[in-house]
Symmetry: C4
């Protein structure tokens, strides 16, 4: 079931190591099928090179496994918590991408120092508090702190991104690391001026409504 | 039309991710055909792996699309502004390459700390002011600040480079990131001596007139 | 003899350059065969691209070469010392991976600033003292300082990791560099809060007992 | 003529971009043929992907082109100066590898903070003064400052390495960048203890005489 979504998720999973966002078996992507409401997610602790489309696990929003023989990601409960509280979200990504996680280690949001941050995030990337892994606590932190941003940092941990599709969430994860890296470089040279809120809004509106192909 | 130029632009576009200058769909290259005066540019928001030669958009200098079914880069108006004001320029590149953009975030030019900067740039790499994206404002900033350099930083944003050909502009974009990176590393250790203006001139003259194949 | 183990070691050796842990001929992996107690190790000074499964050297725990025409790694005596003192260890990795080695250069352990450190290491990554290369001294330093961690830094030198298999030791080497890098980035921004010992224990227990496939 | 040496030099040239030591057309390797005393060197301003074995230029020690239709590297006069003054040297490499060049920008030698530096270099990596490009001045700086090290930094410029073969010089260039990077990382955390001169000597002797295959 959901073969097309599994194929898409498989390709998106390969974007994580390709973009330097994950190490060994870390990180995961999930997608919610808008028709059935079922969620497809990475199995726990599998190497990206070994992952096949049919290895993905299908669950319902309460966490019952609908299809799949492998154990789902140990972040599954938090993914499902986010899907239950954000009906607009159909894709979620979790990584420990290194520059973004450095900000997360310090519980430090990323201000709008770059037009790329205004474009993709529409404001600062917020940072959520510390939570243990395995249950819904991370999902609660994400929902509490992410606001309208597609990304949130997790104190002492890493990054969660969301999107209206798994591809949008992967894009947000890639852009989170990209802007975290450039801001980190900038902060070693000094403290940039933040872009004015009015300009942030104009940049974000243009990027959301005009950029790309219709 | 302009098939050879589109093929060349396609190859040059692939140099941007290969050299670590762009992330996801960001960045763009354009070229002006010296005979017809028409400009070929990347379509907006297309992944580099998906980009084909025939996807490039052909416009005249006033921004009328002459050929192409995709929307052109959202930086098109600024590219055209630069072409109109710099008849010597036939290639333009825009990136958010991370080390150069760190200097840009701080509105900070890159001094001539390295022979490689004297060689390629003939002086410091200047930094232009902040401008919104989508119109000609960035092009105006570029023209106002670039002087005789092939590269200019844009405050809180990124990099524009120009050249007598698209290949020369891509080379300038690659070298901008390369020297920005090394200067950034050096600045974490201390403040280098700048190369004396007389030596900068000698190095730049030799590189321009003797280096490479005739 | 031990063909399957040599094949496995060959594949694991290729993970070192793939994950950016080694340069030129540096670094090595060894494995102990649980049945015979013999140890298989990289030959000294061989490029990773040139290394073949049959090039690995087989020794007994006293250092007598049982099979192989090449000289074994110059770290062999230290590997064997570790195997003799740690019957639970069947795999050992040595690298100069750059971020971890930066901490090692300063004789500085890596605190538990990240959930990934709690997960994989169960506590701080300790740092052992300086020792010369070629004899057992490094092995003695490793045994003295590694405790329950799968990794230990070596002052002014690099990293040793151990595991119940060579694959587990390679994973520990990869994760050591990964967390060293992120902690290094974080320390340039400030000093993170350490994760509380109770939470470290919970994270490590879950990762050890629940994470991955059964 | 010297076909085997050109083939070898071609392969060694490809190690430079593979190891992240060069950008675009920068950097070069030369080799002296021990029998004829002739020198083979990279042509000026050629991209590494385009370089073919037959493109290399053959010169005598006085700089007369013996074979080849392309212009030789603009560093040729300095390579030849080094060969004339160091009969033990049969290979030379020049790069702007970024971490080493950061130290060079500051005219700052690299102390023996790591066993890898003792192993490969037998002491600190020295830094020579500033010199213009194109004539013998760089070669004079190299000879004056390199001492017994296989590598020397050039103020505001980059790196020269030498070896008894081109392969040994390439290895020294790779190791120079590797240790410069790790030392640079370490210096952002604090100031390491230098390894004691006696231990440096022991490490270097062992590495020179015991490490690798006989």
């Amino acid at each position: 079931m959901l073969e097309a979504l599994k194929e898409q998720l498989h390709k998106l999973h390969l974007e994580l190591p390709k973009n330097g966002l994950v190490t060994w078996t870390g990180g995961n992507v999930s997608a919610r099928d808008p028709e059935t409401g079922l969620v497809v997610i990475k199995p726990s602790g599998v190497m990206y090179d070994d992952l096949r489309p049919e290895d993905h696990v299908v669950l319902d929003l309460e966490g019952d496994v609908i299809e799949g023989t492998l154990s789902p990601s140990s972040d599954t409960a938090s993914h499902l918590y986010i899907y239950r509280h954000r009906p607009d979200v159909n894709g979620i990504v979790h990584t420990h991408s290194p520059y973004a996680t450095a900000f997360a280690a310090l519980n430090r949001p990323i201000p709008v120092y770059l037009t790329a941050i205004a474009d993709e995030f529409g404001g600062p990337i917020p940072c959520a508090g510390f939570a243990l892994i395995g249950g819904e606590e991370i999902g609660q932190q994400v929902i509490e702190h992410i606001g309208n941003s597609p990304a949130v940092l997790l104190k002492n941990h890493g990054v969660f991104t969301v999107g209206k599709s798994a591809k949008a969430a992967v894009k947000a994860a890639v852009m989170t690391e990209d802007v975290a890296r450039t801001v980190w470089y900038a902060l070693q040279l000094g403290t940039p001026d933040e872009i004015a809120p009015d300009d942030v809004k104009k940049l974000h509106d243009r990027y959301t409504n005009v950029y790309g192909q219709r």
